[in-house]
Each structure stands twice: as C-alpha cells, then as structure tokens.
C-alpha cells in the first residue's frame, strides 16, 4: 500500500524547507453520517520529524486540523542527501512513517 505521507524537503543553504501532506480523515467526532449517526473522532495526535536521531519538529494536533493535513516548516543543519524520518500516530493507535531524502 502506498504511504499516507508525502514529503518534500528541499535544501536552501543549510536550511531544509519541509512540506508534508498526509492522507487522514481527521474526523472531529462532531459530524453525522448519512444515517444520522455520529462519526467517531479519528485524528492524528502527533507528527514527528527526525533528522540524524534528533527531533527537529514535533506537532501535537487536535481535531481542528483539516482533513488530509498539510504542514510546512524549516530547520537548519541539513545537507543534501540526508535522511528525514516522518512518522505519525493517531488517537486510535494507528501509525505510519516514511523516510525522505533531502534534495
């Protein structure tokens, strides 16, 4: 199965600009389905970016983050070809991860 994570990390000097898109419903638990039944909350709680064993960015998310979340940040001290590991865990305990190469 294809990964739920898409990452683009581009180097600018020694700063890596990281853009990430994740496929996830991010259900709030407040919306009803066609039958009028509440769709249970289902959302990513933590998204972690690791570069050379160091956490360079950690997101704590609630239900107000949009469906198929997008996030952009940048960190220093990166080099071309370095690996950047991205992983998430949601409120149901599901996880996914991906290792991207900094371009």
């Amino acid at each position: 199965m294809a990964s739920s994570i898409r990452v683009r990390a581009i180097l600018n000097g020694d700063t890596a600009e990281v853009q990430t898109l994740i496929q996830h419903p991010m259900d709030t638990g407040l919306v009803k389905d066609a039958k009028g039944e509440l769709i249970p909350a289902h959302y990513i709680q933590q998204l972690t970016f690791t570069h050379k064993d160091k956490t360079v960015f950690l997101a704590d998310w609630g239900t107000a983050v949009s469906k198929d979340p997008y996030v952009k940040f940048a960190f220093k001290g990166a080099a071309k070809g370095d690996e950047l590991k991205v992983s998430w865990v949601d409120n149901k305990g599901a996880t996914d991860s991906l290792t991207a190469t900094i371009q």
């Binding site: 360079v56 997008y70 940040f73 960190f75």
Partner: protein
C-alpha cells in the same frame, strides 16, 4: 553486587509510593501537574489542553502562564474563509529562542487546534490548515525565552468547517 540491590529496591518502593499518592490525589495531582509537563521538553501529547472548550483554559492547560500581544509575530490568515474546513494559517516570528508555537481558534468547540514544538535549530515558522466552525479570532501563541507572546486575527467564515 549485593550492595547495589539496596538502593534499587528503595527506589522501587519510592516509585510505588509516589504512584499511590498520585492515585489518591487523583483529580488534583494530575490536573495541576499538566502545565508543568507542557513546559518541559518531553514528548507527551497534551491531551488535557486539547480537551478545553475555551481559549483561556486551553492556554492555561498548555502553557500555565499568561500571554502578551507582540508585534514581532506575523500571523497570516485570510480575512474571509469561504470554506471553514480548510483555512490556511501560518505564523512567522522574529522573537529569539522560540521553543513552541500554537494555534487557537477561539470559537471552535475545542479552542486549541495545533501546538508545535520548535527545538533549537528549527526555524520559528509554521504553516498549516485548520478547520473553523464559524467566524472567530485565531490566536497564534509563541513561546520565546520562557515567555508567552501572541498575535490575533479575526477570520470571517461563510461555511463552517466542523459540520453538524
């Protein structure tokens, strides 16, 4: 070898004791401990802060301190959001020693939307997309040098993003 068992056993006992005390003091001990934990560098998910309904309580649960407005924070959000389900919100700041950035949507069912830890070496700027139930103030919080600063902008929402 035997000597090292003593302190270890003691440590176990003390830990057990602490666990008991925490259990006995349940509500109080756990609730009051969370702001202190949020300020440290552990990676615990701030469950309590995300559960708060209004902005003030969420900020208190997440940071445990007051914030003041700062013109060194640039909060980028649309004047009018036609689709409250996807509102692009970004923040950049020139404040030094930033350790975290958080986004609050004051009128949402739960005010805290997202909180980002910014380790040393990471640029203090974040862009993301948030859901907004209705027209509301969006508050960007920036923790800098142990103090908390904010920038606020009202976003008008024509179609709500939290369904119902």
């Amino acid at each position: 070898m035997t000597a090292s068992f003593g302190p270890l056993a003691n440590r176990r006992l003390i830990l057990k004791g602490a666990g008991l005390v925490a259990l006995i003091g349940l509500g109080n001990a756990v609730l009051h401990a969370s702001p202190a934990f949020a300020a440290t560098n552990d990676n615990k998910y701030p469950e309590d802060a995300f559960r708060q309904k209004n902005a003030g309580d969420a900020i208190k649960a997440l940071y445990g301190r007051d914030h003041e407005a700062s013109d060194k924070i640039k909060l980028d959000a649309p004047e009018i959001a036609e689709n409250g389900g996807v509102v692009p919100v970004a923040v950049t700041t020139t404040l030094p020693n930033v350790t975290s950035i958080a986004f609050i949507v004051a009128e949402n069912p739960s005010a805290l939307a997202a909180s980002y830890r910014i380790p040393e070496g990471t640029v203090p700027a974040v862009a993301n997309r948030l859901k907004m139930a209705k027209t509301s103030n969006v508050i960007a919080l920036v923790e800098s040098g142990g103090k908390l600063y904010s920038a606020t902008k009202e976003v008008k929402v024509t179609v709500g993003g939290c369904g119902g």
